[in-house]
């Protein structure tokens, strides 16, 4: 005798099963939506910018004539910015991470610093611009220089580097430290020669992520008063300069079609730069990452 009537069970299950299939497709569609938008975005930019994207575009100065305009000053400016942000943010970020992970005792001050860092990560970038304007541009009288922009951007990306470095340092196993202490090494020797080398892939990956954030950021630099249009290069960190996102912003806000196409070409340069940075990050991670 059959206690379970299969057809009845199936009948009863049917709406629930089809419900499941329906929602599964819906969820899949939602996931694909993001990928689709990314595809459209890239296609639009490449199809619009390609006619202007050539070697000359990289070498030309900005110009009122779209045929002769280029990104030379902005591209070099972005590289100057990276040259300031990379060392400053790495030293501050890794130093903070080492302090919090290796030296700090679990007390109120440490907790406060930690909470402060996560709150800092949530502050809108334009507010950092206001800080930079008041402190670096006006109080330190640096003007809209490479140094003022670089310091502002370093503070902006600091939380990213700190959190990444903390995770990297935390993932170095205790055994390595103990072995080092056992051989008579001091705490700083252990950190410098054992912990940091083991944590370096994670730290560098975080650093490159932070750097890509810094070169794509526009809002704080507008507040700092960087020019949208500049026909000469900075000679030192105290000179005025402009960066790729500012140049793109300038072209985007003009109504003519040609300038919009130039903006697309500028975006291509920026995205290629970002792609390069992220490829380096992935390579570092794959080359040096060890699992303990």
């Amino acid at each position: 005798m059959k206690l379970i009537d299969h057809s009845r069970v199936l009948n009863h299950m049917k709406p629930r099963v089809s419900f499941n299939i329906f929602f599964r497709s819906l969820f899949l569609l939602a996931t694909l939506f993001g990928l689709l938008v990314l595809g459209i975005l890239l296609y639009r930019i490449i199809s619009q910018g390609l006619p202007y994207f050539n070697f000359q575009f990289l070498q030309n100065l900005p110009s009122r004539n779209p045929e002769q305009a280029g990104v030379y000053t902005a591209l070099i400016g972005s590289i100057w910015l990276m040259a300031v942000v990379a060392p400053v943010s790495l030293i501050l970020g890794v130093g903070t991470a080492i302090f919090l992970e290796e030296y700090a005792k679990k007390n109120a001050i440490t907790t406060f610093i930690q909470i402060n860092i996560s709150n800092l990560a949530g502050v809108p970038s334009i507010v950092f611009g206001l800080l930079g304007l008041t402190v670096f541009v006006r109080a330190f009288a640096l003007g809209s220089s490479v140094l003022a922009a670089g310091l502002t951007m370093s503070l902006l990306v600091l939380p990213v580097i700190i959190v990444a470095s903390q995770e990297a340092i935390r993932s170095v196993p205790k055994e390595l430290r103990h072995a080092s202490y056992g051989l008579g090494a001091t705490k700083w020797q252990t950190i410098l020669r054992v912990v940091l080398p083991a944590a370096i892939p994670g730290i560098l990956t975080g650093g490159i992520l932070a750097l890509s954030r810094a070169i794509g950021e526009t809002a704080p630099l507008v507040v700092l008063g960087l020019p949208l249009f500049l026909a000469f290069l900075p000679r030192s960190v105290f000179d005025i300069f402009t960066v790729l996102p500012m140049q793109i912003f300038n072209w985007t806000s003009r109504p003519q079609e040609e300038f919009q196409a130039l903006a697309a070409a500028g975006i291509m340069v920026l995205l290629i730069l970002l792609l390069l940075l992220n490829t380096i990050a992935v390579l570092i991670r794959n080359r040096y990452q060890r699992r303990y």
Partner: protein
């Protein structure tokens, strides 16, 4: 005799070594202090932001009354004689854009999270998640360009009444920008729900959808809400998309088809213009920045509170 000699020389060696190390010893003590100073920089940054905003905002309020700032219905700062400083139109602009962004991002983000956490195989997840995260890494000026040159024209084809600069287009694009944030954080929250709970529900005859909706979603709710609040905070502070595609006319209306100005876009507009240092307009950007800062700060505190208070421990 020989033994004594050996002992002596070893002691010598040790004390010699110790003397040599003494120079290093002070360095050993100096390092934590130096590192503590670098750690203080992040605290100083926060203090700097707060003090900057407070002092310059106070200067602003010596010229414009705080009551006018909070209650006046017009934001019209560029007139010498009829200047009006009511923050409400700017706040309205920000809230409109944020609302649209959330309407776009929450359903799509959570649906993606459910798919990735409950339905997708490990392999699919490993491919899709990084691609989604690329969306989060694209500079906002690129999204601004996309909103102005692609989304707005399409919307204007569908809705002929839409102005070139409007709240709808940047709202949608900001929504797209924060999808990966909601999807990624919510997926983390859902993935941390232990499998034994899922298996229990499946064993009772639930379909995967029922497991996702009635078991996993409620258990991961605190993480999901925190991700949404963080996304709101991100949308409120977003600048370039609304500057490029939103326009520069602060209006106190909930009509999303018209040109707007958000708090962030106002700060950009003033920074770009030739506003002299020390003028009331110059100080107004700090007052607006202060308002913006308070909005995002409250959001961040809510997110931290929610994820701590309502977390289910397994």
């Amino acid at each position: 005799m020989g033994d004594e000699n050996v002992n002596h020389s070893i002691q010598d060696l040790i004390s010699k070594k110790f003397k040599k190390k003494r120079a290093g010893f002070s360095f050993e003590r100096l390092v934590p202090i130096l590192l503590f100073i670098t750690a203080l920089i992040s605290v100083l940054t926060t203090i700097g932001i707060v003090l900057t905003l407070i002092f310059e905002t106070i200067t602003f309020f010596t010229r414009v009354s705080i009551v006018e700032f909070l209650t006046a219905k017009k934001w019209f700062p560029f007139s010498e004689t009829h200047g009006s400083y009511g923050i409400l139109p700017l706040v309205t602009g920000t809230l409109k854009v944020t609302g649209i962004a959330i309407l776009v991002a929450v359903p799509i983000g959570i649906a993606s999270a459910i798919y990735l956490s409950e339905y997708a195989t490990e392999k699919t997840k490993k491919i899709i998640k990084p691609i989604l995260e690329v969306l989060a890494g694209i500079p906002t000026i690129v999204y601004g360009y996309f909103a102005l040159t692609f989304v707005t024209p399409i919307l204007r084809n569908v809705m002929p009444g839409l102005e070139i600069f409007n709240a709808l287009s940047p709202g949608i694009v900001i929504g797209i920008m924060i999808i990966p944030m909601i999807a990624s954080l919510s997926e983390d929250a859902m993935s941390s729900v232990p499998n034994s709970i899922r298996e229990g529900a499946l064993g009772l005859g639930s379909t995967k959808f029922e497991v996702a909706f009635k078991v996993v979603l409620p258990s991961a709710l605190s993480g999901i809400i925190a991700s949404i609040v963080l996304a709101v905070s991100r949308a409120i502070g977003e600048t370039m998309i609304v500057t490029v595609a939103g326009g520069s006319t602060p209006t106190l209306t909930w009509d999303v088809t018209r040109s707007i100005q958000t708090m962030t876009a106002y700060i950009v507009q003033v920074s770009q213009g030739d506003v002299g240092y020390g003028t009331t307009v110059y100080y107004s950007i700090y007052a607006v920045g202060m308002t913006l800062f308070l909005f995002t700060l409250i959001m961040n505190f809510i997110a931290q509170f929610v994820s701590r208070r309502f977390r289910e421990e397994y």
